[in-house]
């Protein structure tokens, strides 16, 4: 089926059924709602600072064309001027005074004329302000922030997966006294928000000399009740007979975990990995509290530092927000195929 015939399929045969209309409205508005802000962010990240503060805003990053003119060190903006006799001319603006501008012909910059502001229109062209992307990396140490974020995310995710899957393995496959109680306690911690425990957590981190260190960001976050619960529920579906077969096959409990349970829980592990990457990458409050050296900032904290007391460097914030989104998108694209594969459900009759 071609894309065309797919898109024009209708429930009511040849005519439009009202559900077709509703479906289109629903889907299109959903698309705009989901992708609109992202596209807007992407396009805006290529605008200069001036273009960002323009009103009304443009969708695409337009910029006034600049012309090199003899006798001036800086390039001058080019305008389309309507003269008093109705003629249209291309002129550069030399200087602006109040509601009038001194304009000159680019060929003869020494002859200037005074033109009212409303009689001219800037000549605009599509231009990408790539310096929004390059400057934070070159001048503002953004690469360092990026590295810190990658470190925190990767290390925290690896530890999260190992610790949580081990807890889930024990809680799903071993019978021991108090198992239900342990699970209940773990789940109960879901009800305690970070802001409630932030001060005690800070004292602990401080007491362990982890303040102002990336490990101080990583360690408190690695054990997540959501992760334990998610993995446990999945591991419950792995048949006990497989574990018993492995036990008969001389496998140690560690081997059973590593070679049997972990590979079979891969779909759930992938889901948790995606969650963990998103949580750690987008984490803001906790890194902001733990990290005080600019050298150690993660991306989110670094983005915040573009926000001065008096002005916000929106062009950098937008560009670096785009950069900060990319890894999550890549991870998601890579791991999403695992989510739908249930390996354990096959193989046993």
């Amino acid at each position: 089926m071609s894309i065309g015939s797919f898109l024009t399929r209708r429930r009511g045969g040849a005519s439009w059924h009202f559900t077709d209309v509703l479906a289109w409205i629903w889907l299109v508005s959903g698309l705009i709602l989901m992708f609109g802000p992202v596209i807007w962010l992407g396009l805006s990240s290529f605008k200069t600072r001036a273009a960002l503060s323009e009103f009304p805003p443009t969708l695409l990053p337009y910029e006034t064309r600049m012309v090199e003119v003899e006798g001036h060190d800086e390039p001058l903006p080019l305008y389309r001027v309507t003269t008093e006799d109705g003629e249209e001319r291309l002129m550069v603006q030399v200087r602006r005074i109040g509601t009038m501008a001194q304009m000159a012909d680019p060929e003869h910059p020494e002859e200037t004329v005074r033109v009212p502001l409303q009689a001219r229109e800037p000549v605009r062209e599509l231009q990408l302000a790539t310096e929004n992307y390059t400057e934070p990396f070159e001048r503002l140490n953004f690469l360092r922030f990026f590295y810190n974020s990658v470190f925190v995310t990767v290390v925290a995710t690896i530890i999260t997966l190992i610790v949580n899957s081990m807890a889930a393995f024990a809680l799903s496959k071993y019978e021991f006294k108090g198992r239900a109680a342990v699970l209940a306690v773990i789940l109960a911690t879901l009800m305690v928000p970070l802001s409630v425990i932030i001060i005690p957590l800070f004292s602990v981190i401080n007491g362990l000399n982890l303040f102002n260190s990336l490990w101080g960001v990583v360690l408190p976050t690695v054990a997540t009740p959501t992760g334990v619960f998610l993995l446990r529920q999945y591991m419950l579906t792995i048949p006990d007979e497989l574990l018993e077969a492995a036990r008969m096959d001389n496998a140690s409990e560690w081997k059973i975990y590593w070679r049997i349970v972990l590979p079979l829980a891969m779909p759930a592990i992938a889901v948790l990995a995606i969650f963990s990457v998103m949580w750690r990458w987008n984490d803001f409050l906790w890194p902001l509290i733990v990290l005080s050296d600019r050298e150690l900032y993660t991306i989110q904290v670094g983005l915040n530092s573009f926000q001065g007391e008096l002005n916000v460097q929106w062009q950098y914030v937008l560009a670096m927000t785009v950069v900060s989104m990319l890894p999550v998108v890549v991870i998601f694209a890579f791991l999403q195929r695992f989510i739908t594969t249930g390996i354990a459900s096959t193989g046993i009759k």
Partner: protein
């Protein structure tokens, strides 16, 4: 050398007692089958031998050593599970070699053994496949191969054929029997299917409600069932039972009057008159009485199987199944006269125990 002994083994799950004082000895190279209806504890017993369950009381003795506290892995046994329990994320080759890898067997030796087993079970061309790409019979072979490759002292098989279709089951049954001869291995096999038990076993252990009902060779169990349960469980179609009472007979024989008034002479010693008795007769030991002097029965169903004809009939309020050799012209509704072979009559007392045979 593998010799297994169970001494007074009992098992409870919480308050539920599933096994009561099981005593059993399994000799080297013996093929022992645990058979019984579902819920009789036969799988639990197998899992206790395997080490996957702990006994509540009693001892499991393996080659003279009590192994109650020895972990499953260290007992040197191998188990084939009902669901096969092949590792779904590993290829057949990995499935077969997993156990050997865990005992740090050298790679060359692993490859040699896996190759040998694959040849023996004719699964060589499947080695690179994953379990989900195999048919039921192939999975079955891989599961048996996984047990064989470790050269265990005893093979434990938990209803290994129950997931196969009827035709394949018969083939695999024969293969298993051949394999047992070839490997000269001790095998303990759990099934609820008495045909499997009869065809495979050197000795059968009949279990019911966690108790051993009888242990014996298949023909022992068939010819001399220790009680009514074993009599009804072993043999297909199952044994017919008719209620009656002993009467004073002529001379030295025990005579019974059935509920319908018909009299039979049993091959047992004389019992006091008036004592209730359950007479059992296998369908294959029932014939037609040519002169019509037998027990009259109204035919309710006729199953013509070709080599034999199974006749369901009603006589004196009892449903009776008779397996008559050859093809017979019998119609539903007809009244036939049944003849019970007196040599093959079984008698059980009111508690269901077999009454001792006469001298």
């Amino acid at each position: 050398m593998s010799h297994l002994e169970l001494k007074n083994v009992s098992k409870s799950f919480g308050r539920v007692d599933v096994l009561h004082d099981i005593d059993l000895e399994v000799m080297d190279r013996e093929f022992v089958v645990f058979v019984g209806p579902s819920g009789c504890g036969k799988s639990t017993l197998l899992r206790i031998i395997a080490g996957l369950e702990k006994v509540t009381s009693g001892e499991v003795v393996l080659d003279g050593k009590v192994v109650n506290n020895v972990a499953a892995a260290d007992r040197g046994l191998a188990m084939v599970f009902q669901s096969y329990a092949l590792y779904p994320h590993m290829s057949v080759r990995q499935n077969l070699s997993f156990g050997l890898e865990n005992t740090s067997t050298p790679r060359a030796e692993i490859d040699a053994r896996v190759g040998e087993i694959a040849r023996m079970l004719r699964i060589e061309e499947l080695l690179h496949r994953t379990p989900r790409q195999l048919s039921g019979g192939q999975r079955q072979r891989v599961a048996i191969g996984r047990a064989m490759v470790r050269r265990p002292g005893i093979f434990l098989l938990d209803e290994p054929l129950s997931n196969l279709d009827a035709e394949l089951r018969v083939t695999m049954r024969a293969e298993l029997a051949a394999l047992h001869k070839r490997l000269e291995a001790t095998m303990i096999y759990v099934t609820h299917d008495q045909t499997e038990a009869m065809t495979l076993a050197d000795r059968i252990v009949v279990l019911r409600d966690g108790r051993v009902e009888q242990i014996g060779t298949p023909l022992d169990l068939y010819n001399r069932p220790a009680n009514r349960f074993v009599a009804g469980f072993i043999g297909a179609p199952h044994m017919n039972f008719l209620e009656g009472r002993f009467v004073v007979g002529e001379g030295n024989s025990a005579e019974v009057e059935l509920d319908g008034g018909h009299r039979l002479t049993l091959p047992i010693s004389v019992r006091p008159a008036g004592e209730p008795v359950m007479v059992g007769i296998r369908p294959h030991h029932i014939g037609l009485d040519a002169v019509g002097a037998g027990i009259p029965a109204a035919v309710t169903l006729v199953e013509a199987l070709g080599p034999e004809t199974i006749v369901h009939a009603e006589a004196a309020g009892h449903r009776i199944i008779a397996a008559l050799a050859g093809q017979r012209r019998i119609a539903v509704g007809e009244t036939i006269s049944l003849f019970f072979d007196p040599q093959h009559l079984h008698a059980f007392d009111s508690e269901g125990r077999r009454l001792p045979e006469g001298a």
